[in-house]
């Protein structure tokens, strides 16, 4: 599903590579934790999958597509098959829960009938039934992240990328968020989650890929966050 082959990314004006000859394979339906200290290259890894950045060398395949050969014109279609969740939720403050989720479908031109059918389903899936008409500022951080997950998942993507989704959320609420991610994963969606949260990684017992200074230093199935932390 995601295939990195000897990928190196150096940002302009920086001499140290953000990713240094990284090769990794993520299969369909897998749940992968991406761990490592700040600046180890986790976010770069995710941005490369979305083709927000281009690698300096190496090849990336996502959902069977060679990103180097994917024209800019087709990048939006790639992104429709990838859902994204961030630490800062990125909700539209002037739209309610339903509208925030529906927005993701409206802007890719889905018919209104389809939107009316699937949005309530997804809102229920993330555990926000009965709160569809709340505004984001009336929700807790955990609930806002659930809205963001609903928006990321509403188009049934093949891959869900989560960049520190529990970074702004207290540990008790984080468990709920992880349950939703797990539920999404069980529908067959590949999940890649970058995180600092050792407790979560240790409790989930999923595959762990550890980055340090842009290199993969550990790749272990059913792993833990790491002894050093």
């Amino acid at each position: 599903m995601i295939h990195f082959d000897n990928v190196t990314k150096v940002y302009a004006n920086q001499n140290r590579p953000a990713l240094d000859h990284v090769s990794v394979d993520v299969d369909k339906g897998e749940f992968v934790f991406l761990v490592g200290p700040s600046g180890s290259g986790k976010s770069t890894f995710l941005r490369l999958i979305l083709k927000e950045e281009r690698p300096n060398s190496g090849a990336i395949h996502v959902a069977g597509k060679d990103l180097a050969r994917l024209s800019n014109f087709k990048v939006p279609h790639l992104r429709r098959r990838i859902g994204c969740v961030f630490q800062d939720f990125r909700l539209l403050p002037n739209k309610n829960v339903y509208e925030n989720v529906a927005f993701a479908l409206e802007v890719i031109g889905k018919p209104r009938r389809f939107i009316r059918k699937v949005v309530p389903e997804v809102v229920e899936l993330v555990g926000l039934e009965g709160k569809a008409h709340r505004m984001p500022d009336e929700l807790s951080g955990g609930e806002q992240q659930r809205v963001a997950m609903a928006r990321a998942f509403v188009n049934r993507p093949m891959i869900l990328l989560a960049d520190e989704p529990t970074g702004n959320i207290d540990p008790a609420t984080s468990i709920g968020i992880m349950k939703v991610l797990d539920r999404i994963n069980r529908t067959g969606t590949t999940v890649v989650m970058a995180t600092h949260d050792a407790a979560i990684v240790d409790s989930m017992r999923k595959r762990v890929v550890e980055l340090e200074d842009g290199k993969i230093v550990r790749d272990q199935s059913r792993g833990v966050y790491g002894q050093a932390y």
Partner: protein, 302 residues
């Protein structure tokens, strides 16, 4: 669904940037009105040239008794016989199409009909004061020069007036007005481009959250950019409507009164004005679209 969504986005954008939108509308309106006036002067001049081209003549005035002009020194006036000889001689010139004689009485009639409103002037001038003249029509407009030169050397002719020179002065003025209008229109087009650039930039900044999410969930470039471009188009169209009103007012109060006084029957038709309005609107909207797109490429990375 799509159109609905885009128009609500456009409406939000226009409202958030109300002052900038008004600035764009006003600038487009004035710029396009000046461009339109330039075009209207053009077709007005063309019509007037057509009107005058078969009416202009060379007037050759005859010497009167004790005429003070140097070319008539010692003249005792032109006798009827001499006048007939002169007419025959001019008629005989190869380039001349026709010659007509205008006596003092007829010249006075023409004078009165032109300056009839000015009583003082009409009363001060007597029939005898009006000069007699030949009205000469030339076959080929390019040969006016040679005819005039020849007539000047004929004894008994006091002065040769080329009516085209009078008209040329007028046409020169019209062309200067046109040039000036087009020049200012050019500057305003530049202002429109910069203003739209600024408006789009503000809009893009105001909506960076929305566009960021749209990018993330895979909205196509067109879908992301269209609301911004539509903002430019709508501002351009509104400006075009205002400029259309300005052009109609200009036609009715400026062009029509000028052309009725100078050359009856050469008024611009509504068809001409409609073409000018359509042309300026299309140009205005195209400028707005191009300016929006160029700015979007810089400020809205997709």
């Amino acid at each position: 669904m799509r159109a609905n969504f885009i128009f609500s986005e456009v409406w939000i954008g226009l409202r958030r940037n109300l002052t900038m939108t008004i600035a764009v509308i006003v600038t487009v309106a004035i710029g396009m009105a000046l461009l339109g006036i330039g075009l209207m002067v053009n077709s007005q001049v063309a019509k007037m040239r057509g009107f005058w081209s078969d009416k202009v003549e060379v007037s050759a005035f005859l010497c009167k008794k004790n005429d003070p002009l140097p070319s008539c020194k010692g003249s005792k006036g032109v006798t009827e016989q001499a006048r007939a000889d002169l007419q025959a001689r001019i008629q005989g010139m190869a380039q001349v199409e026709s010659v007509e004689f205008e006596n003092s009485a007829k010249a006075y009639e023409n004078f009165k009909s032109t300056y009839g409103e000015n009583d003082v002037l009409v009363k001060a001038i007597q029939v005898e004061d009006m000069p007699e003249s030949f009205r000469v029509k030339v076959k080929n407009p390019e040969e006016y020069g040679t005819v005039i030169d020849e007539l000047k050397n004929v004894a008994g002719i006091s002065m040769v007036v080329d009516e085209r020179e009078l008209l040329d002065g007028f046409f020169d003025l019209m062309e200067k007005i046109r040039g000036f209008a087009l020049m200012i229109a050019g500057f305003l087009v530049l202002a429109v481009i910069l203003l739209i650039g600024n408006t789009v930039r503000l809009s893009a900044y105001n909506r960076r959250r929305e566009t960021g999410i749209m990018r993330l969930v895979g909205a196509s470039n067109l879908y992301i950019q269209l609301p911004f471009v539509m903002e430019g188009v709508i501002a351009g169209l509104l400006g075009g409507v205002v400029s259309a009103v300005l052009l109609i007012v200009t036609k009715v109060f400026l062009f029509d009164s000028v052309s009725i006084n100078l050359a009856a029957g050469t008024q611009l038709t509504w068809n001409d004005v409609a073409q000018v309005i359509l042309g300026t609107m299309v140009i205005g909207v195209i400028i707005c679209i191009l300016a929006s797109f160029v700015t979007l490429r810089r400020y809205l990375r997709v």
